[in-house]
């Protein structure tokens, strides 16, 4: 079937599904060998990706002795006591709640202010428009480490060091360049006629934006929201500089502390349980939103 398909020229009538390359015409037997070998290579990489994660989960059900004597074996029984100890000691739920608060507010702020600025810069002509746009977008190329020391000093001077407000404002500010870059491009692709009709019907600029343009821009907003949520959730550098006290920590600080915490030397299962606890929500979120996550994270790289 593949052979005949390749040999007939592409039909001119209804456009066929052209999204994927066709099978070149090879001898069938050879093709099966090639497909088989391909699966071997693909499975090898799947195993490479999965093993560290599965191993972490398995180790969380083991005892210390099992971990040291048979690191690769299955746990002798399904024990959850390490999870209980990790829940109390590693304070993972507490850090996670802190992170939800920070990331929730900062992503909301990023999306609100980012899309407002992007909309104005994309759709309104005024002196200084290009300058402001360029100022925002150039932020994408500067390494954050260049600003690290002065940023710390500014936040300290404003009395925002070690506060969630400080971290949230910094997250918003550093997420603006990409958000504005992407959303401005998105707003430019939307048709102007709907907005014009709304304006003729007497809607104000602000109302047109929130009731007409934002719903139209939903696909782009969703992609960039996911991009920002993941980026801010996984941020580690800014929290360790701006949020030093332990009872305010976000999840990445809590996890990184696991391996410097001497207490774990005697209780390995609970270290693995704490890690697993941090991974579980990511797996759940990933499985639910995997399509949007893939397109959201690769959004910046595809034209």
């Amino acid at each position: 079937m593949a052979v005949t398909q390749v040999e007939t020229p592409a039909p001119a009538g209804p456009p066929p599904r052209l999204t994927r390359p066709p099978r070149p015409s090879y001898v069938p037997g050879q093709r099966n060998v090639f497909t088989g070998l391909s699966h071997v290579a693909l499975v090898v990489w799947s195993v490479t990706v999965i093993v560290p994660i599965v191993w972490t989960f398995m180790s969380s059900f083991k005892t210390n002795t099992e971990i040291f004597n048979e690191p690769l074996g299955l746990p002798g029984a399904f024990r959850l006591d390490a999870w209980g100890r990790a829940w109390d000691k590693a304070r993972i739920p507490e850090y996670m709640l802190n992170t939800v608060i920070v990331v929730g507010l900062s992503t909301a702020g990023t999306m609100l202010f980012g899309s407002m600025a992007a909309y104005v810069l994309a759709r309104y002509k005024f002196p200084g428009n290009r300058l402001i746009y360029f100022m925002f977008v150039s932020g994408m190329v500067f390494p954050v480490f260049l600003a690290l020391v002065p940023l710390f000093l500014v936040v300290r001077q404003l009395g925002l060091l070690d506060t969630y407000l400080g971290l949230i404002l910094v997250y918003i500010a550093y997420s603006l360049p990409f958000t504005i870059f992407f959303m401005a491009a998105f707003f430019r692709t939307l048709s102007t006629s709907v907005a014009e009709a709304a304006m003729i019907d007497g809607a104000s600029h602000t109302r047109t934006f929130f009731q007409i343009m934002v719903p139209m821009a939903k696909p782009g907003l969703i992609s960039i929201t996911i991009f920002n949520v993941l980026g801010q959730w996984n941020q580690y550098l800014l929290p360790i500089v701006l949020l030093p006290s332990q009872d305010k920590w976000v999840i990445t600080q809590g996890i990184a502390n696991i391996n410097t915490n001497a207490g774990y030397e005697v209780d390995w299962p609970s270290m693995f349980a704490a890690l697993s606890m941090a991974i579980v929500p990511m797996i759940v979120v990933y499985i639910i939103f995997q399509r949007q996550i893939q397109s959201g994270l690769t959004a910046g790289a595809v034209k």
Binding site: P22, V141, W233, A278
Partner: protein, 303 residues
């Protein structure tokens, strides 16, 4: 147009611009100034010392060591990641069977992509802790446990100076590959089927198909990927800070400039010196980005 246009524009821009100016533009601009002072954070008035920080920096062996690590990562990270990702993406898209009209990728390609992409969602700090357990120097780690099975004595993945950076590189590759598989798959799927068909009709083998058709048509994605990975090679902060022995050790054999900036600033309070390093990092990143875009510039192939 109607009244209220300028109040609207200003109203929408004021918050994002102020946030951005205070937390991003201001710090970046100040960094260049602080780099020319001997500020230690305690004195009220930093003293201007010109380029002294930079002359000291260029005589600092740790700085040159860090630069050499960046050069290593700059070469090895893109080459290894892109080779694996291109290979896997090609298998996913071209090695498929001939079901449903012969246009589909390999069976299970969606599943493979979901698995490969997952590490992208995990925080680098978490991955660092996870791999610290994987790389354990005794046979309780996964890698040494595997070596133990075939009778090889444990290897100090992170404790041997000549091996530690490779171990960290491997984790970076482990996390990055999935992203580029998804990116390249999208690029390959966008290549029109007719091109593959005519190449196959002309008797083009799989290897020529890959190097003669797929690769040139993916040039844009490859260029973007190279820049992204290069920027990642100039960072590597979180992984080195969390995963390596002694934060950049053993004996400075894995240290990177971002880590030294952080250490100089927040361990030793040498704000001036840290900022000078930031300026150096900025020019390195800029040089890399400009050079890459120049060298890899090609006539775009329209299709």
């Amino acid at each position: 147009m109607r009244q209220g246009r300028y109040p609207f524009i200003i109203g929408f821009l004021v918050v994002p611009v102020v946030l951005y100016a205070v937390f991003v533009i201001g710090p970046y601009a100040q960094a260049f100034y602080i780099a020319t002072t001997n500020w230690r954070g305690v004195s009220a008035h930093p003293k201007f010392i010109g380029f002294e920080n930079f002359t000291r920096l260029f005589q600092d062996p740790v700085f040159w060591k860090a630069i050499s690590h960046h050069l290593f990562l700059l070469l090895a990270l893109p080459v290894i990641t892109l080779t694996i990702a291109l290979f896997l993406a090609f298998l996913l898209n071209v090695a498929g069977g001939s079901r449903s009209g012969g246009m589909s990728g390999i069976w299970g390609s969606k599943f493979y992509k979901i698995v490969y992409f997952f590490p992208q969602v995990l925080a680098v700090a978490l991955i660092g802790v996870l791999f610290q357990a994987m790389y354990r120097p005794d046979s309780a780690g996964v890698l040494n446990g595997l070596l133990d099975l075939i009778g090889i004595s444990p290897v100090g993945w992170l404790t041997q100076p000549n091996l530690a950076l490779w171990s960290i590189l491997a984790v970076m590759v482990w996390q990055a590959v999935g992203f580029y598989v998804v990116l390249f798959s999208a690029g390959m799927a966008a290549i029109p089927a007719e091109i593959y068909e005519s190449a196959a009709l002309d008797g083009c083998g799989r290897f020529r198909l890959f190097f003669g058709v797929t690769l040139p048509l993916l040039w844009d994605s490859l260029q973007v990927a190279w820049v992204y990975l290069g920027i990642a090679a100039f960072d590597a902060f979180v992984l080195v800070q969390v995963l390596s022995v002694d934060r950049g050790g053993p004996d400075g054999s894995t240290t990177v400039i971002p880590l030294e900036i952080w250490r100089q600033a927040f361990t030793f309070s040498r704000f001036g010196y840290a900022s000078a390093m930031g300026v150096a990092l900025f020019f390195l990143t800029l040089t890399f980005a400009v050079l890459t875009l120049r060298v890899t510039r090609r006539e775009r192939i329209e299709y």
